[in-house]
């Protein structure tokens, strides 16, 4: 995708194609010879895992759409029909439903890895920002998808989330009505959500293309966070990273399969096996686990509009990270102070998720969870807007290794032989 190409067409057909549409050249340069830092660890395999997740969701989703009926009166029954009477329909649906959770699990690991090793820093700002856009699209797609089975949690989740727009002053209720296509969540809403749920994954696929393109310009960051300096620092993508990615992908698929085959409703909510009923509100409306931290932020603020702003701001904040981090060193390996704040941030996110999963008035050890969520929300914002800029200025980073090769192979081996 960038840099000098090392491809030489070997046959007549390849020469013919190369002069017209150099697809083999593209594949060769990006997936075969692409120089990749030799020190990438397990956390760098999640990019490939995420591409796999997207493909699985699209394939199973297309099959499910062949049997699903986007109609408020028939959607719930059509899903049960898939589960009972469509050949391997249960497999398609359980892979798709658990696939969403596995997709988010992988994307969170991918994002925390980027944060820890400073992968968002120059010259990779756009990779990060495009990534945030993918994450946002994923959340929208997952939300639309969760509405489709038209169970109780589908309906009430959709009601709660779309109602957030009504918090916008003056035009809020009009926006909500426009989104619903009605005066409440109903058949019109279900139909448009299905349409969007089918559309967005292809937009995600396109943006993933940009993400990978942007990655192939500067190349991978690495756990040391230092630039590639010589060919000694890299290995060709194939076979070194194809085999490594494949191994870790299969390990990930084993976890995936454990849920699909042995605990397929682990991430689900029992209420969603009851058909949507606008007259009966479930005692606790809980979103899927991957949205819980933001849900906790929303609920911890008594004012609805302010809650929506804080929740939205938490995601918008991510866009500015490349410029909020003032450190000259990328990787937290060499940032003793930032490393501690990073882990505290990870704990804050998990705490927020936990608070979001409990009822509003719950308490632990005598502490109301709403206050835990408030403190964690404040830390979330402080981490990006105060700690990142300040720590980058006051911290003394540890000494960086001279090169990737030296760090991996030791001093002697890293000295060029020729």
């Amino acid at each position: 995708m960038s840099g000098p190409s090392t491809y030489t067409p070997k046959s007549g057909i390849e020469r013919w194609l190369d002069a017209r549409l150099p697809l083999p050249r593209l594949m060769h340069d990006t997936m075969q010879t692409f120089p990749t830092p030799r020190n990438l660890n397990i956390w760098y395999t999640f990019g490939g895992i995420l591409a796999f997740c997207l493909a699985v969701q699209i394939i199973t989703g297309v099959v499910l759409a062949m049997h699903y009926v986007a109609n408020a009166g028939m959607a719930f029954d059509s899903v049960e029909n898939i589960m009972r009477d469509v050949n391997y329909g249960w497999l398609m649906r359980y892979v798709h439903a658990n696939g969403a959770s596995m997709f988010f699990l992988a994307v969170y690991i991918h994002m925390f890895r980027g944060l820890y090793y400073g992968s968002y820093k120059a010259p990779r700002e756009l990779i990060w920002i495009i990534g945030v856009l993918i994450y946002l699209l994923m959340m929208a797609t997952a939300f639309f998808g969760y509405v489709l089975p038209w169970g109780q949690m589908s309906f009430w989740g959709a009601t709660v989330i779309t109602n957030l727009f009504s918090a916008i002053p003056v035009v809020g209720t009009h926006i909500a009505t426009w989104l619903w296509g009605d005066f409440a969540v109903g058949d019109a809403t279900l139909n448009r959500f299905f349409s969007l749920h089918y559309l967005l994954p292809f937009i995600i696929a396109a943006v993933v293309g940009l993400h990978i393109w942007a990655l192939h310009v500067p190349g991978n960051n690495n756990p040391l966070g230092i630039d590639v300096k010589s060919p000694q620092d890299t290995v060709p993508f194939h076979p070194y990273y194809t085999v490594k990615d494949a191994f870790y992908l299969v390990c990930f698929v084993i976890l995936f399969a454990l849920f699909v085959f042995y605990a397929p409703n682990f991430f689900g909510n029992p209420d969603n096996y009851q058909q949507a009923n606008p007259l009966v509100t479930p005692p606790d409306i809980v979103p899927e686990w991957y949205l819980l931290p933001f849900y906790a932020m929303l609920r911890s603020i008594p004012n609805k509009l302010l809650g929506v702003i804080v929740m939205g701001g938490a995601i918008v904040t991510l866009v500015f990270i490349p410029w909020l981090d003032t450190s000259r060193v990328r990787s937290c390996r060499f940032r003793p102070l930032m490393k501690q704040f990073f882990w505290a941030f990870a704990v804050a996110c998990v705490l927020l998720g936990f608070c979001g999963s409990q009822s509003v008035d719950a308490a632990r050890f005598g502490i109301p969870l709403v206050w835990v969520a408030r403190v964690a929300s404040i830390y979330y914002y402080a981490f990006f807007w105060l700690i990142m800029p300040i720590v980058g200025l006051i911290e003394t980073p540890k000494k960086l290794p001279a090169s990737i090769a030296q760090s991996v192979l030791g001093d002697a081996a890293a000295t060029p032989a020729e």
Partner: protein
């Protein structure tokens, strides 16, 4: 002092006798009943499924529908596995409203709706034609559809089993059962609209199994668990093959990974 004690005593007595809010009516944790279909290799007990269908049909079906079950499901592998002849007979015995006849009529001369026998492709008939009819016949309460009751309740099979066997317990002091409701501490709020559905010998099992309340509950919960998750056996079987394959593949890939990277780190 004595006056204070008296007042306090009176106050407590009043609270205890008149107010249901004094008692925490959070549902009890479900009983720890064991089922054959639990665990990664668990399968449905075929005899229990067939007996459970009998309990459903002879007891539960008076009020509860299983809308997602068709007669042919009863013959499919992984379910009660009645023979095809048995299922045909079961279907033929069930009556459904008939489609319009040649003259376009759905009732006979006297206005009685025309009925037809069910086929194996039909879903099990519901006890009531609509929600209003169901409520009118059940003191305003709606008996839920049981097709997915085991998946649709926190606690799953243990929860449903506990509800079915949780009647006839001594009402705690200070708790008064609402008129027209029944006491069941495994149900949230402790007041349940369903009268105790099972009694000893509610059904007569043809295989000689003794029909205690616990046995009937165990059997019908097994049946309802299958109704919720009819492809469970197929899922676990396929899952085992998939796991063996994936672990083998991971082993091969790990060997390849180690070999290729041998001198690179």
């Amino acid at each position: 002092m004595r006056l204070t004690t008296l007042t306090l005593g009176l106050a407590f007595g009043l609270l205890a006798s008149t107010s249901a809010f004094a008692v925490d009516t959070t549902r009890l944790a479900p009983k720890d009943e064991k089922f054959s279909f639990e665990g990664p290799f668990g399968t449905y007990d075929r005899g229990s499924l067939q007996r459970g269908y009998q309990v459903y049909k002879e007891v539960c079906a008076a009020c509860h529908a299983v809308n997602h079950l068709a007669f042919h499901h009863l013959a499919e592998p992984g379910g009660p596995e009645f023979t095809e002849a048995q299922v045909r007979a079961l279907a033929a015995a069930a009556k459904l409203p008939a489609e319009p006849n040649d003259k376009g009529e759905t009732t006979d001369d006297k206005g009685t709706p025309l009925m037809r026998s069910a086929t194996v492709a039909d879903h099990l008939p519901a006890p009531f034609p609509n929600e209003n009819a169901a409520r009118a016949n059940n003191g305003g309460a709606l008996p839920p559809d049981l097709s997915m009751i085991v998946k649709a309740r926190e606690g799953g099979p243990q929860y449903v089993y506990s509800i079915l066997t949780g009647f006839h317990m001594k009402t705690p002091d200070g708790f008064k059962v609402t008129d027209g409701k029944y006491f069941n501490p495994y149900f949230e709020g402790w007041n349940i609209s369903m009268p105790p559905p099972l009694a000893a010998n509610s059904v007569t099992y043809s295989d000689g199994t003794k029909a205690t309340v616990e046995q009937e509950a165990h059997d019908v919960v097994t049946f309802l668990a299958w109704a919720s998750e009819p492809k469970m056996e197929e899922r676990k079987q396929l899952g085992f093959g998939v796991m063996v394959f994936l672990i083998g593949l991971a082993g091969i890939l790990f060997a390849a990974y180690r070999k290729i990277w041998k001198d690179k780190h």
